[in-house]
């Protein structure tokens, strides 16, 4: 029979050993994991801007096509600019701003800085990419929305999700769904913010959402569709002061 002292010793030594192994492995692999997360973020931005890249050349394509990364505050002032590999103004690199933190702070009434990516698309036109993040049915959903230089017309989007239902909510990250956003407007004729709504039953059949401000929802993926609709609105509306300042120039 084993004594209690033996059992305690056994358990303690085992746990310390396992902890040591796991910590060292985590430390060794951390740089690779960070790199993967960066590449994923870059790929998402590039995909919204309509630039093609895979994991191997994403960083390179991004560096070639980025004009500047802007960090703007909620009143629409540009606080920091990062370009040509260095900070030209301010102290924050927009790329390092976590949209999740931004949205949490806004929900709590804080005044975080918002990231905005000013890029050159494949056809040499300029695009503004806005990262968005919200809630789906099972977990977070996120994405990027690329606007034309008129700050109104959507020229590309990319969405992704943590674990929406395959075949239903998960369809929001397919090209078929995303391509619906092309040419939609985030401002109405008089320049007021009107988000793009994801409409159940199809935007063409809807009496209260105009065609240029709506896309069709996914059948069977209503909660994800609604979450996406709310995400687009909640995130884009923070950029409205900035957009209106720029348009007034």
């Amino acid at each position: 029979m084993y004594s209690n002292a033996y059992i305690f010793r056994y358990a303690s030594i085992m746990v310390i050993l396992v902890a040591a192994i796991l910590t060292s492995v985590a430390l060794v692999l951390k740089p690779y994991q960070e790199h993967n997360r960066r590449v994923e973020k870059i790929s998402d931005i590039l995909s919204a801007a309509g630039l093609e890249a895979d994991a191997s050349n994403a960083v390179e394509v991004y560096e070639q096509s980025i004009i500047e990364e802007l960090a703007i505050d909620l009143s629409g002032e540009v606080v920091a600019i990062y370009k040509d590999g260095g900070l030209a103004q301010g102290e924050v690199r927009a790329f390092d701003i976590d949209v999740k933190v931004v949205m949490d702070e806004i929900a709590k009434g804080g005044k975080p800085l918002l990231p905005l990516f000013h890029m050159r698309a494949a056809d040499n036109s300029e695009v503004f990419v806005i990262p968005v993040r919200g809630k789906g049915l099972w977990g977070p959903i996120w994405g990027n929305i690329a606007l034309a230089p008129d700050y109104t017309t959507v020229i590309g989007v990319s969405f992704d999700h943590k674990g929406e239902t395959p075949g239903l909510g998960a369809e929001t990250n397919t090209t078929e769904f995303e391509s619906q956003f092309l040419g939609k407007k985030i401002l109405d004729e008089s320049g007021n913010f009107t988000s793009i709504k994801v409409v159940k039953g199809g935007v063409a059949n809807s009496s209260d959402v105009p065609l240029q401000h709506g896309v069709d929802a996914i059948s069977g993926g209503t909660i994800t569709s609604n979450g996406l609709s709310a995400m687009v609105e909640d995130c884009l509306k923070n950029y409205v002061p900035f957009i209106q300042k720029r348009k007034a120039l």
Binding site: Y6, V18, N36
Partner: protein
């Protein structure tokens, strides 16, 4: 070495071969023991995650069996389940970290199911039933056998679900290349949903029992 040491057993003796190959068929953890079904439904939408899951589970069963077998004479029986879980959890976290570092896309697809390998009944079942009472080498083989037995079912199910559900095999658009979409063929959306995995596992069990009558339970 004392004189009465039993003759050293060959590495792949008939007994060891049985440990390795029986779980592939008549002692299969999924189709005969019906263990590990949950993850089998979740990760078989496509072939690639199914293969990665199969490899991960095989590594975890093999090495947890090996470690527990090495420790078996020191483990106090009163905390043996905890010891087993710590070993399994450690191996699973290692697998998860490595996937995140080198197979990021696949790791994202597998999401929580890598972590849930910890709760896979096959692994603890083998530790309790086999590794606690057997030498390291047979335990290791038993782990490999059970992992592969679990894995091949996953891969077969994944193959069919991806082919009929998405029209691709290993993300290669087979159906599109065959041109069947031009004749009005549509991918079967039901294949993507978990119930279809259960039905496919059922079909595999059916075929297996039709071929091997020993597995059929007597009607009482």
């Amino acid at each position: 070495m004392s004189a009465d040491t039993p003759k050293k057993e060959a590495l792949f003796s008939a007994k060891n071969r049985r440990l390795l190959f029986n779980p592939l068929n008549k002692e299969n953890p999924i189709t005969v023991q019906v263990l590990g079904i949950c993850s089998a439904l979740a990760v078989t939408v496509k072939l690639e995650p199914a293969v990665v899951m199969a490899i991960s589970v095989t590594l975890v069963t093999a090495f947890s069996n090996l470690s527990i077998s090495l420790l078996r004479n020191t483990i106090p029986p009163r905390i043996r389940i905890i010891v087993q879980l710590v070993v399994i959890a450690m191996l699973v976290i290692l697998v998860d970290e490595v996937l995140k570092a080198f197979y990021y896309d696949v790791s994202k697809q597998l999401s929580v199911f890598v972590g849930l390998i910890i709760t896979n009944c096959i692994i603890m079942g083998r530790l309790e039933a086999f590794a606690m009472g057997n030498k390291p080498w047979p335990s290791f083989l038993d782990g490999i056998g059970n992992g592969v037995g679990y894995g091949w079912i996953l891969i077969v199910v994944g193959l069919f679900r991806e082919f009929f559900g998405s029209g691709t095999i290993w993300n290669f658009p087979v159906m599109e290349k065959l041109g069947v979409y031009n004749f009005g063929y549509k991918d079967n959306g039901l294949m993507i949903l978990p119930p279809m995995a259960l039905i496919l596992v059922g079909v595999i069990i059916w075929i297996q029992r039709a071929r091997n009558r020993e597995l059929i339970e007597e009607n009482k």
